[in-house]
């Protein structure tokens, strides 16, 4: 499955569609504070959606490893965590670029920005933890346990706390709606690019993770 080509080509086709039509599709004209920068929805937001999916796969394999003790599961867990963390940092950077023009400065101490930074630091600590141990078996087991903790920390930092207080991001106290799952009351035109974008960027992340896994498996032989 990880060597098959069809879903990789599909990922490219989706991102080709997003990176072309995403700039042409009509976006709603509201009060002109966002203007066309809302097109960032097709790039910045999918980074976070993809990150959640990739890190979920990572913790799934971490839990699986604790049951099976098979090194393959540990390779999967590590690879998906690495790509997920990369996407998280891309989300932070693209968010800072967007915020610079939309909110006046790249870092506003917004609850979601802070939460995301904390979540990323927790995952960075996962890699430091892995690097600090030399015994393969011990490293994999302790890393798997930490992975589970790190994944569950995503929820208070990214989803719960930013909604309990006032926030510049949509969804904070004082603004309406659930920003994540309902497509942010997105216009139908935008939704037609947004969902393919999430799928496309996620599949690209999966592809990169599978390459890392195959490389580690080859090295082991």
């Amino acid at each position: 499955m990880i060597r098959k080509g069809w879903w990789k080509l599909f990922a490219f086709m989706l991102l080709f569609y997003v990176s072309t039509y995403g700039f042409i599709v009509k976006v709603p004209k509201l009060d002109d504070r966002m203007e066309n920068s809302i097109r960032n929805m097709f790039f910045h937001v999918p980074m976070w959606f993809s990150m959640m999916i990739l890190l979920f796969v990572s913790v799934w394999y971490a839990a699986k490893f604790l049951r099976t003790a098979a090194p393959k599961d540990d390779f999967y867990s590590n690879a998906f965590a690495a790509t997920g963390t990369l996407y998280g940092f891309l989300g932070l950077s693209t968010g800072a670029i967007w915020a610079n023009y939309q909110w006046g400065s790249p870092w506003s101490g917004d609850p979601k920005q802070n939460g995301a930074a904390i979540a990323m630091l927790i995952y960075l600590a996962y890699f430091v933890l892995r690097g600090s141990m030399t015994d393969d078996d011990k490293r994999s087991r302790i890393a798997a346990v930490y992975n589970i903790f790190a994944f569950f920390m995503l929820f208070p930092t990214l989803w719960i706390l930013p909604r309990l207080t006032e926030s510049l991001h949509p969804g904070g106290q004082g603004s309406e709606g659930n920003p994540g799952i309902n497509g942010r009351d997105m216009d139908a035109n935008m939704r037609s690019v947004f969902y393919p974008a999430v799928i496309g960027w996620t599949l690209l992340g999966v592809w990169v993770s599978t390459l890392k896994i195959r490389y580690e498996l080859l090295k082991e032989k």
Binding site: L15, G22, R214, L218
Partner: protein
């Protein structure tokens, strides 16, 4: 070029907010520069995919040895 000049004139003269707003939100499309952004992003995406694909091929070759 004429369209660009027209858009600037719209911005400079004292107008109702909506008229200026209409000019502003379509500025990139009216002067065709949105297609430059589109081409840049598409080039980056394609380049990324070509790179990942080449690594995929190298690994497949090593696996099949």
């Amino acid at each position: 070029m004429v369209v660009l000049l027209f858009v600037f004139v719209c911005c400079i003269t004292v107008n109702a907010q909506t008229q200026v707003a209409a000019a502003n939100s379509d500025i990139m499309r009216s002067n065709g520069k949105i297609y430059v952004v589109m081409a840049v992003v598409f080039t980056i995406v394609t380049g990324l995919f070509l790179y990942v694909f080449s690594i995929d091929k190298k690994i497949s070759k090593l696996e099949n040895k």
